[in-house]
Every structure is written in C-alpha cells, then in structure tokens.
Amino acid sequence: MSSNKAYRSATKRRKQRERGCIIGTRRKPTTQCYTGQGLAYSPPVTVTVTGSHLVDHSMGGRGVGNLRHLICSSMPHRSLPTFYPLSPHSCPQVLPFTQLCTQARNAVRSSNVSEVLHRKDVHQLSRSFSALKMKACDPQNNDRLSKCSFHTSPMSLTTPELKEWREHRVIDRFYRLPWGAWIRTQGGRKKGLYKKVPRHRWQLQQHIFCNYHQNKLLDKLVTSKWKEPKYFVDSPYEPYHQRTNSYWQPNRKKFYP
C-alpha cells in the first residue's frame, strides 16, 4: 500500500510539473522540473494565412451611394497585419502544436491575437523547444531557475510577468464581473447524476460567487487586463455586470440636469 501511495503521489507531481502549475511544494526543486518556466514565449513566427477564409461570395444589395463591384479572388499566402481578427476555425494546424508543449499553449492563450503557424514552423519550434529544454538543465541557468521557483515565491516578488505565466489557471476556471466579484462552476455537476435528486442536479448546475477573500486572492493572481470592463455584445453575463439593490455598490446612473 505504501509503495502504491508513493507511486500515486509521484505521478501526481509529474503531472503537475507537466502542467507547469506547482504551488507550495515542500521539497527542493530538482533541475528537471522547470521545463514550463521561463519559456512561455515562443520565438517570433511569421504569420501566413491562405486567403480562402476571406470573403468569397458575391454581395446582394448595396447601400445608397456609388456602388462598386466586388472582385473575389483567393490570394494564397498573403501576409496580413497582426491586428486583423482571424477566425480560429480557418486554420486547424494550430492544434498539434499546442498539444506538443505546455508553454506553447500558455503563449497562445496569453497572446492577444491567435497566432497561426504554417506546418514547417511547427517542426522548427518543436526543435527549438527541445533545445530550450536541454538548456534548462544546464547548471549555468540556476539563477534563472531559482527566481522562477514556485515552492518559495514570496508575495513581494510576484512580478507582472509571473502573473501572466500563471493567470491562465484562474482564467480557465473563473469569470470576473466588473464590480469585483468572481464566479465559478461547481464540481461534480456532470458526475453520478443518476444518483442525484433533480433538485441537487439543478443546484450543481448553478454558477456561484466566490467569497470576499477568494475575490481578493483572484484579483491578486491576475493582471489588470482582466479587470478592465469588456464590452461584448450578446454576452449571457451582461445582466450581472451591474449590481442591483446594493447599499455598498449602488448602481448610480449618470446625472443629466
């Protein structure tokens, strides 16, 4: 039994390391466990997209004014400016790369634009990743590793960079309402439903608020980017963006004389 327990805890640790999200380990770090650290930013890649996902259909009616004919042409390998919104469904090549390594997934998540990679760049990056992994084990990089170590990271040394590397753990699970509250889903809402009463099933499906201290904690774990108001249209959480009947956070409308 003890060997089984040791094996389970070892696999648990290994999986945590792979995910790059260890907190509060009491043991000293080994040289191999920081593959996910300091490598969250992939080297710059060229963005090439085929033009097939661009507008490729004829328009019906036009607005009042001078009408111009649309010329639809597919232009392969046209480089677009980085701020043009790209549809993620247009390029399925993203999936194999993000499954390769954690830091790539982190980099893609934390970047503002979904970076699309051509097939040959994937191999280039996987090679560079393995090279970086070898570098991490180098004794010369001990200084960098100790700074990034999870097991003793005092609150005073939490830099915005460190926050960015870790904030996906919060963003994956919680949603911030603009007035300071965070909501989350409940565990077990999809498990063992056959043995749960309908009322229990309904209860577990509700999204619930975090308490005062949890809200403060989550605000600290996350950069200010997530605390800015987001103006999505047709968002299901829009009715909850403003409080009602609250003495401490009154929903005061702008005064017009």
Binding site: I23, R68, C72, R184
Partner: protein, 294 residues
C-alpha cells in the same frame, strides 16, 4: 485717550501683514508627530520575530496549506473562450446622445458618425483592446427627440425605432481596426501623411448582421430597408414620418461607400495639412486597388 503702549501696539499690528496660512502655525502639541527615529530596532529591519514574515518564505498565492486549492478544485469553464478574437463595442446610450445634441456638442445638420462622437471628447475607445466601434444602447429611448443621420457599429431594434420615429435615419457600419484608428483621431492620422485606407469587409460572423435590413446594415438592400422601416413602425406603433418632402432629405440620405471612411474623401487620397491640399493617385494599379474590395 489710548496710552502710548496701546498706541504703539496698534500701530505695530496695523503695519503687520495680513493673517494668512503662510504666517500662522498650530498650537504646540496639537498634532501628533510619529517618531521617525528608528535607531533603536535595527536588528530585525521591521520584520518582527522569526516566521515567514522575517524569512520571506511566504506560501505562494492561492496555497491552502497542502489542501487542494480553489484554483485546482474548481472545474474548468470556457468563460473567456475566444475573448481575444471577439469584437467589443463600448456603449453609448440614447440619453447621452440626446444630451450631446442638446448641448450643441453634435451638429445635427450634418451626418453623425463615430468621428463626430469621438470629437466631443466624451467618448473614447481603444483599437488595441479589440474595440470595434460604438454600441448604441436603448437607455433613454423614450426621451429621445433628435432628427439625425446616424452611423454606428452595433445597435438594437428598439434604438432604430426610437431614431426613425423622430424622422432620422440610422445605419450600422463596419470598420476594420486600421480604419477605426484613423477615424478616432483624423487629425493625427492626416499628420502621418499616409493614404486613406480602404475599409475591408466585415468578418464572416459579422457579415450576417451588416447585411440585415432589420439592423439597417450598410450592405443590405435599400429597398428591403424601406420595407423594414414600415414594418418596424407598425410593430412599435408609431407613424413613420415621410421624408420625401423633407428639407434635410439630402443630408439624411448621405451614406458612405463600403470602402469609404471619411465623408468627402476617397480611399487612396493623401490629405496634406501643411500645404492644405489633397493628393490623389493617378496610377492605374493604385486606382484599381483602392476602388475594389477583396
């Protein structure tokens, strides 16, 4: 008769400057001054005795003493799925718009578009934060009473009804981010000396909205828009004002070309502010590029 002492005292007071903040001071011992002398406890640097506080070995944020923390136990939910790709439209209410018109910050004799709203100085957006224009909300739709030619990026049916009831027109228009940056501050854009960009067509998920006559999309059929106007008037129970005999009919029907950004300026032109002239391209390739949308 005042004595010499009192006379002298009064003369002294008269010659003194006026009592002001720079020549009075509080009574002694009225305010508490903190002891700034820290020569005593130098040994612990203000960190106290032992423990995490002194040694700086704080537990990481979110750590719950070995217990599975909230950050791990909560199930994953795609709250922020596609947040970087989804478009955002900062809101402006009809009430705010009415106030801007009342206070003469907006000129109703000319078409109102996003540049006019930004030029009031009371509305800002940031292209880098995925803001794609103005979302006109229906707050104050009952008090709205302005006759305007409006161009916004997103709106709802009730807002359209409120504007058309007062004899105005509204269109929803898409601008891509570089065009929007130019529209936000045209003066700064003209100072760059770059040719006016042509506006690209909306992305696929927005195409349906901007081709819909019910939302007065700029890519919709004008005849269908006229039908939709009548239907909306019937739905909300107001009489649709007839624009045929209207003196400002021309202004109300002013629309930009789908590639055009500024009224009166075509894509490809360069506005030279210093020499106060406009440069237009003559080359065929340039003309072809700036007059077609891909």
């Amino acid at each position: 008769m005042a004595s010499k002492v009192t006379e002298r005292a009064l003369n002294l007071i008269k010659s003194m400057p006026r009592v002001a903040l720079n020549n009075i001071k509080p009574l002694p011992h009225t305010s508490f001054t903190k002891k700034t002398d820290r020569r005593g406890n130098r040994k612990k640097k203000g960190r106290g005795d032992k423990g995490q506080g002194a040694r700086g070995t704080w537990d990481p944020l979110g750590y719950e003493g070995g217990q599975n923390p909230l950050i791990d136990t909560s199930p994953r939910e795609r709250y922020y799925a596609q947040y970087a790709v989804r478009r955002q439209y900062p809101p402006v209410s009809l009430l705010e718009l009415q106030r801007l018109v009342d206070l003469n910050r907006l000129d109703t004799s000319k078409p109102i578009d996003i540049t006019s709203i930004c030029n009031t100085g009371l509305f800002n957006f940031d292209v880098s934060k995925n803001h794609f224009g103005v979302n006109l909300t229906d707050e104050g739709c009952d008090q709205f009473a302005a006759k305007i030619n409006l161009e916004v990026q997103w709106t709802s049916e009730l807002v359209i009804a409120a504007i058309e009831k007062n004899g105005g027109t509204i269109t929803t228009r898409y601008y891509d981010p570089p065009c929007l940056a130019a529209l936000y501050d045209p003066l700064a854009f003209f100072k760059k000396g770059q040719p006016i960009p042509k506006c690209k067509l909306p992305p696929q998920d927005a195409l349906a909205y901007y081709s819909d006559p019910n939302f007065r999309g700029y890519l919709a059929d004008p005849e269908q828009i006229l039908e939709a106007r009548e239907k909306l008037a019937q739905k909300y129970g107001y009489k649709l004002p007839d624009l045929t005999g209207d003196p400002v009919k021309e202004m109300l029907l002013m629309r930009k070309d789908p590639l055009q950004i500024f009224y009166g300026l075509e894509p490809g032109w360069i506005v030279n502010l210093k020499d106060k002239c406009v440069l237009k391209p003559k080359d065929e390739d340039y003309l072809k590029y700036y007059n077609t949308s891909y």
